[in-house]
């Protein structure tokens, strides 16, 4: 894999919804370049015959009964809201679509 470029950092930051100043993008590109180089070595041993582990301890079928528990009181739900109206969270204009 090639090094992680400045444009790549900008693209990824946008994907992660983080505003970065130009100097931050530059710095990050340099730092991540070094980091990515060193972590890329995982490919050396990650051969096709080795399965991936996503959970440290093997467990399956952990389920919950379909029985209701009390909901959070609305006051608690909205207590930390930066903006609320009519019992709902007020958020700025949404341009994109799901």
């Amino acid at each position: 894999m090639s090094t992680i470029s400045r444009d790549e950092v900008a693209r990824v930051a946008a994907l992660a919804r983080i505003d970065l100043r130009d100097d931050e993008v530059d710095r990050l590109a340099g730092e991540l370049d070094v980091i990515v180089d060193s972590i890329a070595r995982v490919r050396e041993v990650a051969t096709p015959d080795v399965p991936a582990t996503s959970h440290p301890l093997p467990m399956t079928n952990v389920f919950r009964e379909d029985v209701p528990q009390p909901a959070l009181p609305v006051a608690d739900v909205l207590a930390a809201a930066p903006d609320a109206q009519d019992g709902r969270f007020a958020v700025p204009q949404i341009l994109g679509e799901e």
């Binding site: 992660a16 919804r17 505003d19 990050l28 995982v42 041993v45 440290p56 930390a80 930066p82």
Partner: protein, 501 residues
Amino acid sequence: MTDLTRLSAADLAGALARKEASSVEATRAHLDRIAAVDGDVHAFLHVNDEDALATAADVDARRAAGEELHPLAGVPIAVKDVVVTKGMPSTAGSKILEGWIPPYDATLVEKLRGAGLPILGKTNMDEFAMGSSTEHSAFGNTHNPWDLDRIPGGSGGGSAAAVAAFEAPLAIGTDTGGSIRQPGAVTGTVGVKPTYGGVSRYGLIAMASSLDQAGPVTRTVLDSALLHELIGGHDPRDSTSIPEPLPPLVEAARQGALGDLSGLRVGVVTQLQGEGYQPGVLARFHESLELLTKAGAEVVEVSCPSFDYALAAYYLIMPAEASSNLAKFDGMRFGLRVEPTDGPVTAERVMAATRGAGFGDEVKRRVVLGTYALSAGYYDAYYGSAQKVRTLIQRDFAAAFAQADVLVSPTAPTTAFPLGEKLDDPLAMYLNDVATIPANLAGVPGISVPNGLSDDGLPVGFQILAPAKADDRLYRVGAALESALESTWGAPLLSRAPELG
């Protein structure tokens, strides 16, 4: 009157049980200590005095009424600010959560409250647990009580420093790559990362979901066992929580303290020593091995070749999971909201502005790295590959545990370095975790036991690892080592720490 702040939690609990002191007295003594020294140490982000004293008073009343109480009832405790506490600020060391008051308690906090432990406050940490020095906190550095110009370790430097500075006899930490054990090593305290799933993660502000564990931070091995038994156990609200009960940990600690380790095989991991490890660290390590041998243990060398890839795998898996876990911090429902000063104020732009302003450099670094590792076209090469390394590490552990009952290494390669020394070199900072990371990747438990001072007069830690669900072995061996060491020292290690305040 005894200085209540100098007692171990077990001794303090004993004093409370015998009514030689009240919980209110003990709590007040610790609050006074905090007031006296925390200006210098800065272990605490929030001190919970009123509520703590109220809990203490309640415990005293119930004890007076003859009620049967938990062994640790009335013993005060500090909690790392990554753990959600109802009615008390929980910032995870970040500006983006400054002032956020959760509407619910983490399961482990419910257990603390249920047992009657006064919560002294919330401790400082690297922002979102990303770091090894607590220098990445948005709210200032924590200072190592052994040398205030040095780091207390991270990410849980606050809890370790609080306990090392006698501001609390007990603390809660969390460990994703060593964030309990490494601070333990550099502050001369005991820190335990339980088996993954051994302590509920419900209420832990998540960093890397498949690696995070909460655990005890204390001055003695027995204290950790007592606290571990209180906070551990199955939680139906955590799907990754181990269903079986904990093995008897306190009993293991008491047994271990008797000092007989005959029949025990101790595996020294070749890959977790050598280059990068300070001579003083290695010297103390070998001396401790000697002590274990004297106690009857057999020391063998084991090789875990995949451990050489552990750091790389960790710095792929952890940022990837963290990048997803941190997506919820967007200024829409709670926490900081920042509007862009130029251009339209849209939800998308507010999210980006909020996260740009609210996240620190290290968080940005890891979120960008993690997002990159997961993004289209890169998954197999990075995240996918790292998950395979994880399999290899588990296999190496399994093979090693066939040859030895516990595995050991120095906890960290160096003693506490000066504040600011590694801030400009992220990779150098990451190397602090090289010995602790493998355990998180495999889910096995580990403990760091203070095993002396290095040539620079700073504390060093001895790490013991056990197979998954065999946390009792940590306490048996840890207690035996502690007992042997204190015999040679004549007093606990922390008695040699400089006076503060």
